[in-house]
Subunit: 210 residues, 2 copies
């Protein structure tokens, strides 16, 4: 199974790395990190770079395409060569996934028209700009399109995919392997669960940067 | 606040990237990814490389040192130059952290002697080889040493650290920012929760590779 994960400057690293830790352990998986060119893609806060091992122009197909998010997606929503690549890759996939604002690129490419989809909660309504149906769930499946909510949700998405496609036993093995028995300090990780002032502060930051 | 995250070949990417997504957003945080040399460090399964932006020899202090894990730690447990660097960095830190088998390097450096500590569940008993006290909790704090269990536990560790040092409001903001409202498909993410055959398969893999 060929898996392509798209990297770009301004990515949120966990969007890509969370699902990668699951997907790379699927049977016969070959994961490739794809960028504009071979070389580092730097994250949204600049502190980390992930290596693109192959250039977009050299990747024409994949069984699974994953588009992560990050503030960098905003600039790519109007980048026709990138959207064209996503469209042509999507013609070859059995599953097309996104995490966080990665779904804005799938939507901008026209792939989510009339479909339920999700993204980071602070960007959710923007999906409607591309005629997708904003859907507030952690993982949303519509046909072959699987979109996940913000940043950390890609781990849940990938484990569910593993269970759906390869069965519960394999998915449980992967979950135990990465010791995914989460114990967050607060019950505030989704919209509506945190104090309004905290939600507002994040919305403000998104409005400024995204 | 200077934060140094150590990278090496054979790292598990999520061990580093999970906590990084939290720590990099702390007030006045400067995160540096440190390797043997400047350049890519490739993960345990080979599919991803993270960039080391600075060489170990050029980093002499940090307020916070984080040692991630991965199968690559086994070969470093006897690497005296690496252990010496960890010891001398530790003399400058206010907090020294690890995720997964990263704690084996802290232990091998002699920093966890007589202290409670944790690591990936399949390696837990090995901490006793270095006179640490194997402790089966997701996050274990002993003085300035904070060790986390396997792979995904670093997210919980970093959020707890944020709450302890910067207060609940900031930690809640970071948790909501990365939409950390986990919803794993199975309740099998820790030892004793999964079917014994699954546990045994992972123990076997660790025994072979670690």
């Amino acid at each position: 199974m060929d898996i392509a994960i798209y990297l770009f400057d301004g990515i949120t690293a966990l969007d890509a790395v969370g699902p990668y830790e699951v997907l790379a352990r699927l049977p016969d998986a070959r994961v490739r990190f794809v960028g504009e060119t071979v070389g580092p893609a730097r994250t949204d806060n600049g502190a980390l770079a992930l290596m693109c091992d192959v250039a977009r122009s050299d990747v024409e197909r994949a069984d699974l395409l994953l588009i992560p998010g990050g503030f960098g997606t905003r600039g790519l929503e109007g980048d026709e060569p990138v959207l064209d690549w996503i469209r042509s890759m999507d013609e070859t996939t059995t599953t097309t996934m996104s995490v966080c604002t990665g779904s804005m690129l799938l939507a901008a490419a026209g792939l989510l028209e009339g479909r339920e989809a999700t993204t980071h909660w602070a960007s959710l309504e923007r999906l409607a700009e591309y005629a997708a149906i904003p859907t507030s769930r952690r993982v949303v499946t519509s046909g072959k399109y699987v979109t996940a909510a913000g940043v950390s949700s890609g781990i849940d998405m990938a484990l569910r995919y593993a269970a759906d496609v390869f069965g519960d036993e394999l998915a449980m093995t992967l979950q135990l392997g990465i010791e995914y028995d989460p114990d967050p300090p607060f019950d505030c990780g989704s919209v509506g669960k945190a104090p309004p002032a905290i939600e507002q502060a994040i919305r403000q930051r998104f409005a400024e940067r995204e």
